[in-house]
């Protein structure tokens, strides 16, 4: 594989995977927040 092809592969795969992973993490955080919202915790403390 030529150097430029290696560089392009690395750039596309690297940026693609980084963007996708961080996007998945965004969704995971939203999901976690939906399952465990802050208010619920306060109610539990109140009990």
């Amino acid at each position: 594989m030529k150097d430029w092809a290696f560089g392009l592969t690395m750039t596309i795969a690297g940026m693609g995977v980084t963007f996708i992973t961080l996007y998945i993490l965004t969704l995971v955080i939203k999901l976690l927040d939906r399952f465990f919202p802050y208010k619920e915790e306060k109610k539990e403390e109140g009990k």
Binding site: F6, M10, G14, M15, I24, L25, I29, K30, L32, F36
Partner: protein, 382 residues
Amino acid sequence: MSWIDILSALVSGFTSLTWQSAFLILLGCVLLYLAIAKGFEPLLLIPIGFGVILGNLPLAQLASGEGQTGVLNIIYQAGIMTEIFPCLIFVGLGAMIDFGPMLANPAVLIFGAAGQFGIFLTLLLALALGFARQEACSIAIIGACDGPTAIYVTSKYARDLLPAVSIAAYSYMSLVPIIQPPIMRLLTTKKERGIVMAYEEKKVSKRVKILFPIVAGLITMLIAPMGAPLMGMLMLGNFLKESGVVGRLADVSSGALVNVVTLLLGLCIGSSMLAGNFLKWQTILVFLLGLAAISLDTVTGVLLGKLMRVLTKGKINPLLGAAGTSAFPMSARVVQREGQKANPRSFLLWHAIGANTGGQIGSVMAAAVMLAILAGMHIPPL
């Protein structure tokens, strides 16, 4: 033994001093000056600067690297060549980081990806300049704005470049407040920089804070296992802190452990900066490419910020994109300062810290993908 022999033995240190060693000792003194007088990353530049002086003393056997036998070399081989030091520093970093702002506003995570673009653009530049693939990856990773990650990748694939890459990575991390603002001002109008973003300190439940390092760690490490040593340690450190039941371990990780490792790491890196492997044109190119990497990170981050400003109809301040690098918390502070210069009512720190912690995760992901591709192509270390 004649008096002349005794005298020559006593002055052998002076007579063995070459101009190259003297120059590097002087460079070590400059690093100490920058750390003390200018306040540039003193925690790192003082051990590195002192290490440079010790490593270049003739006949002292305090240098680190290939063929060396002194005490600092033992620490170098045990801590850097085995990749233990970068991993331990990540435990400390994890224990210091508060993912709260990012968990409260996960949309800013995307800036953490844009802030890594400079890594890959620099990789292309380094390849175009004739560097070997392993060297190009090691140089490009300076754009992660993250010393331990740069050391981790370089110690795996291009050990000869380790002194230059690590000094460049740490120097540019400390120079972020100087490098980023002109680029931010060049790419944005005063009106854009002055956009006030809605500030509402959204509370995040303790459960989310505890679960995040486990869930995020699992996902990222399954996607890119090559980055697991760094990501795993980062998430471990954060879990120690957020679990709330091992305060002593969290305190040690974010205090004593990270301080001791930083001292030893700095000393070893400094003592490996020897004339043979540092005083060459290649080093200057590494420094120039490192500067390009961090500048390009800022450019791509701000450009994504501008795009987000358009997509959200003016709700996002484009400066936020500059905080997508993992220079934590320097980039976030720079964004806050530049935003307030343009509009004193603007308060971007909360959002910028979120993007900055996203950059921390993004930089490890970028490094992990790089390592995975190098391993997948069976490219051997140099």
